[in-house]
């Protein structure tokens, strides 16, 4: 049937369905939006990938934001204090 084509190719071009399903499910666990989706079992792989991209971008921006704040914090603490060390470690 037509589903064969899903499995014909190797991972280079066509990730196996099982593989894809597995990874997609993992990703879905991570993505808050999709996790809450009611039809969680019906989310397409492409949608998951898209959400992942968006999520990563969002995380990036959050990291940047927090990094900025931490930098500010770092400036406000004593250089030798614990806090400074902690902050620095966070910023690494």
């Amino acid at each position: 049937m037509s589903n064969r084509r899903s499995r014909q190719s190797s991972s280079a071009l066509r990730i196996s369905d099982d593989q894809m399903i597995d990874l997609v499910s993992k990703l879905r666990q991570l993505l808050p939006e999709i996790r809450e989706r009611r039809r969680s079992d019906k989310v397409s792989a492409s949608k998951v990938l898209q959400e992942t991209c968006n999520y990563i971008r969002k995380l990036h921006s959050e990291v940047d934001n927090l990094s900025d704040r931490l930098s500010q914090l770092l400036d406000s603490v004593d250089e030798d204090s614990h806090e400074a060390a902690v902050i620095r470690s966070l910023l690494m």
Partner: protein, 469 residues
């Protein structure tokens, strides 16, 4: 404002300036090349004939070779084209636009064919008959645009899309050429000839792209649950568009939207799982379904590939050609990002509210030791100090339990609230016992976790699962 671009081209083309600023100046000059370049990129006010041309971003389009473009001063065209480019770029990166957004792009273009934006329409939909005298220019630009679009999209739209649109190519191309030709007739056959081959060459892809674009446009907006069927449906719709590349498209999309609902279940299930069309369906039904599946599957694959590429770009150190490992890397990366964010946010909360005491209450310099802690960690442990993703010390953690709560744990001033990470770690600082493999913390309640145990240390994220909140 037009200043930007005009500046750049000033040396070459005063015409450009004239064009933009006056909007009415007839570009009699034949030094088209620069003009052709900026227009595509400029993101003007749309149809503003005036000089509202904004110097925009880098030109994705290299000055395409073409014959006299500017028979007519039509800055609006340029602008339209440019807008298209930009929007395409945006679209490419944010494919989650609403359907309406794209519809606007397409429909207006279609509607305003004769109007001032032949280019705009050209960019996204099969260029409507260009009856403007400036058609030549437009055509050229359009070609260029398509060429770039092709280039642009070709990479992103993996073969699936192009292939799918393959059948569509001939007709749209023909119509395109025809339309162009008709308008070009009065002008220059040279342009036409120049255009035609290029058109055909690029049209193939542009059409495909257009088709794909149309589909894609529809999809993002409608793509609430499954994109596959949308794509599939669109493909069917697009196929029908062959006859009328332009006018039909809107209808197609509309139809697509409706069809999508119906086909959702089928295609979704089929694509993800096995093709499960009416098992007992008759052969004709099956063949039709198979056909549909072929197309939809191809599109689905194309879409997935496209997204995977985007994801690959986002994930650092993603040099794997294997999709599976790339996805795995992406998964780990997301986890590490989540963890990092969590760590940072929690620590910030600690720091900010009680800067002086912070975790110091622990009597230990928690973080300072983290690097050491991290290295101690045998199992998956967040190495906060180190860049999460690469995890120099730690292999990617598999804790799917890592669920970075968007909501940050309450910055309870009291120490017990301290994020699981800190507390346990701080205790560890002096304790070698932290090396034990991180036992799942699920049972840990965040509050208690705080000081309770070294064992819980390893899985701070688990605590997050039960937000301290």
């Amino acid at each position: 404002v037009c200043a930007c671009f005009c500046m750049e081209i000033r040396g070459e083309d005063d015409i450009v300036e004239l064009l933009w600023k006056s909007g009415q100046v007839v570009q009699s000059s034949q030094s088209q090349r620069p003009i052709s370049v900026p227009p595509p990129i400029l993101r003007g006010s749309g149809s503003g004939g005036g000089g509202g041309v904004e110097g925009n971003a880098p030109l994705p389009l290299p000055p395409p070779p073409h014959t006299p473009l500017l028979d007519q001063p039509e800055p609006s065209h340029h602008q339209s084209l440019l807008i298209q480019e930009d929007e395409m770029v945006s679209w490419l990166y944010h494919t989650h636009r609403e359907d309406g957004f794209y519809s606007d792009l397409i429909y207006p273009g279609v509607a305003s064919i004769p109007a001032t934006q032949p280019l705009s329409s050209a960019s996204f939909a099969p260029p409507p008959p260009v009856d403007l005298p400036s058609s030549q220019i437009l055509d050229t630009r359009r070609v260029a645009n398509f060429t770039n679009l092709s280039r642009f999209r070709g990479n992103i739209f993996s073969g699936g899309r192009v292939e799918a649109a393959g059948p569509l190519v001939p007709l749209p191309v023909v119509s395109l050429s025809t339309q162009v030709g008709s308008s070009l007739t009065p002008s220059s056959s040279a342009t036409e000839s120049c255009l035609t081959p290029a058109t055909q060459g690029s049209e193939n892809r542009s059409t495909a792209i257009i088709g794909g674009v149309s589909r894609t446009f529809v999809v993002p907006g409608l793509e609430k649950v499954v994109a596959t069927e949308i794509a599939g449906t669109s493909s069917s719709g697009v196929s029908k568009v062959e006859a009328e590349p332009i006018q039909v498209q809107p209808a197609t999309e509309t139809r697509t939207a409706d069809d999508r609902k119906g086909k959702e279940r089928q295609e979704t299930a089929d694509d993800i799982e096995d093709t499960k069309e009416a098992p007992g369906s008759t052969s004709r039904k099956r063949s039709r379904a198979a056909e549909m599946h072929n197309l939809s599957e191809r599109k689905r694959r194309g879409r997935i590939n496209e997204r995977m590429k985007a994801l690959q770009e986002l994930v650092p150190r993603s040099n794997k050609s294997d999709k599976a490992s790339m996805l795995e890397d992406a998964i780990e990366y997301v986890k590490s990002l989540q963890m990092q964010l969590h760590m940072m946010s929690q620590n910030m909360q600690q720091f900010m509210p009680h800067m002086a005491m912070g975790m110091m209450g622990m009597n230990r310099p928690p973080f300072i030791h983290f690097p050491g802690i991290a290295s101690h960690m045998a199992g998956p442990g967040p190495s906060y100090p180190a860049p999460p993703y690469p995890f120099p010390n730690n292999p990617a953690f598999d804790p799917s339990r890592l669920h970075l709560p968007s909501q940050q744990p309450d910055p309870a001033p009291n120490q017990p609230r301290l994020p699981g990470y800190l507390n346990p770690y701080s205790q560890f600082v002096g304790l070698p016992q932290m090396q034990q493999p991180p036992p799942p913390l699920q049972n840990q309640t965040t509050s208690q976790l705080s000081f309770s145990l070294p064992s819980s240390v390893k899985e701070p994220e688990d605590q997050e699962n039960q937000p301290t909140g």
